[in-house]
Homo-oligomer: 221 residues x 2
DNA sequence: ACGAATATAGAATCTAGATTCGATGTGTCT
DNA sequence: AGACACATCGAATCTAGATTCTATATTCGT
């Protein structure tokens, strides 16, 4: 630690953190693109215009960098989801918002999320469990909402909340690996369509008729 | 080629192919487990109880092995899907069968499929395109069926066939990465549930009502 | 301007892992 | 039995990539 004045220490720490962020960000970017094992520390350094050995000033090992990236990748998710959970609204609406906030993360921190989704399995046991705990929290939230829907009658009674949750997550997480062209279609629109699909399906009789004044008007521009 | 008697040649060739299959199978297994870049040729050899250098008798490079695995991973898909497409039935029913046959592949050749889904991106451009062509065929088939549903009126007119196709595929392909516990639930059941979800959604009024009433009474939370 | 801590460079190390090559074993046909 | 093609081994090569260490440059508070 610095032995300087408190303010000095603070200023320094901020700078340090900022640079550290850049480094982790660069790692995230390369991990996302080439996969963890396909990434060389050299490639990360290149992104930063830095000597490869200097990276080790910021993280103790490539593996540690991966864990950090994964951790940040989940944090956003969890916070966003928890915010939604605190709201008071019908389960299906909540589910819609959960999907939207989940997909929103893909726009906010695409690299981190992609690494979390595709590469977390390469973490050593200990950290994988740590990260897994967080991702299970998201799963549980979605499942809870679905179950609440079943209990309150808005969701078909026979539904399997767990499988449905996995289906929804699978569908959403796939987006991060879509080709640019497809992901390009604005995330909000995708979220809306997904929510609609999950709620009412594709079948024609699945959606309520328009004259019923349902706030379920066609997708939108 | 052998200069021996035809029958001898045949017998030999069969044995060769069989062994080659084992080798590619072993590669598939390890690729699936550790990812392409995380896989060492040593690990593949271990599975076979063979010296690592001997592998090169069966494939010219690790990359070639990946391509072979990916190729086999798609072949199954395409064939199964094409068989379904040839049948004559309403689009939604076809979609259901497409989902089922897709998931069935996950049971038949899980390793190959997993590698195809997770690792094809590491193929060199040329082979990635080759493999991509096949996977796009599957995409097109699904999209076609959905479009047919829209045209024939069984699927909601506003639906976006392309996005819906991506959603369905994302949902299905996620299954291959589920934890054992979750994938354990018999594939047929999962397929049925997915089909139901895609067709009618989770909402209670989503399933074909017995009579024409669509009481979408908002559940009071 | 000075000194303490920080940030980066440079060179060196050390290992694992892909690929090559020649030798050897093994079964099969004539 | 002898020849031949196939299958595997063993050793060697060759390189890339992670990590370590030491030296230098930079920055900031005083």
């Amino acid at each position: 630690m610095t032995t300087h004045t408190p303010r000095a220490r603070l200023v320094h720490n901020i700078r340090v953190l900022r640079r550290a962020d850049e480094v982790i960000g660069a790692a995230a970017r390369v991990f996302a693109e080439r996969g963890y094992h396909g990434t060389t520390t050299q490639a990360i350094a290149d992104v930063l215009g830095m000597r490869q050995a200097s990276l080790y000033y910021y993280f103790p090992s490539k593996e540690a960098a991966l864990e950090e990236v994964c951790a940040r990748g989940t944090d956003g998710f969890v916070e966003a989801a928890e915010r939604v959970m605190r709201e008071d609204m019908p389960p299906l609406k909540k589910l819609e918002l959960l999907i939207a906030s989940h997909l929103a993360q893909f726009e906010t921190m695409p690299d981190y999320v992609r690494v979390f989704i595709n590469e977390r399995r390469y973490l050593p046991d200990a950290s994988r469990k740590r990260v897994g705990r967080k991702s299970r929290r998201i799963e549980r939230m979605i499942e809870e909402v679905i179950q609440a829907g079943i209990d309150s009658g808005s969701i078909r009674p026979g539904a399997d909340a767990h499988l449905a949750m996995l289906a929804v997550l699978g569908m959403c997480n796939a987006v991060i690996n879509w080709r640019e062209v497809d992901r390009g279609r604005d995330t909000r629109r995708i979220a809306a369509i997904f929510a609609q699909l999950v709620a009412n399906g594709l079948a024609r009789n699945g959606s309520p008729p328009k004259h019923r004044g349902q706030p379920k008007s066609e997708p939108m521009p």
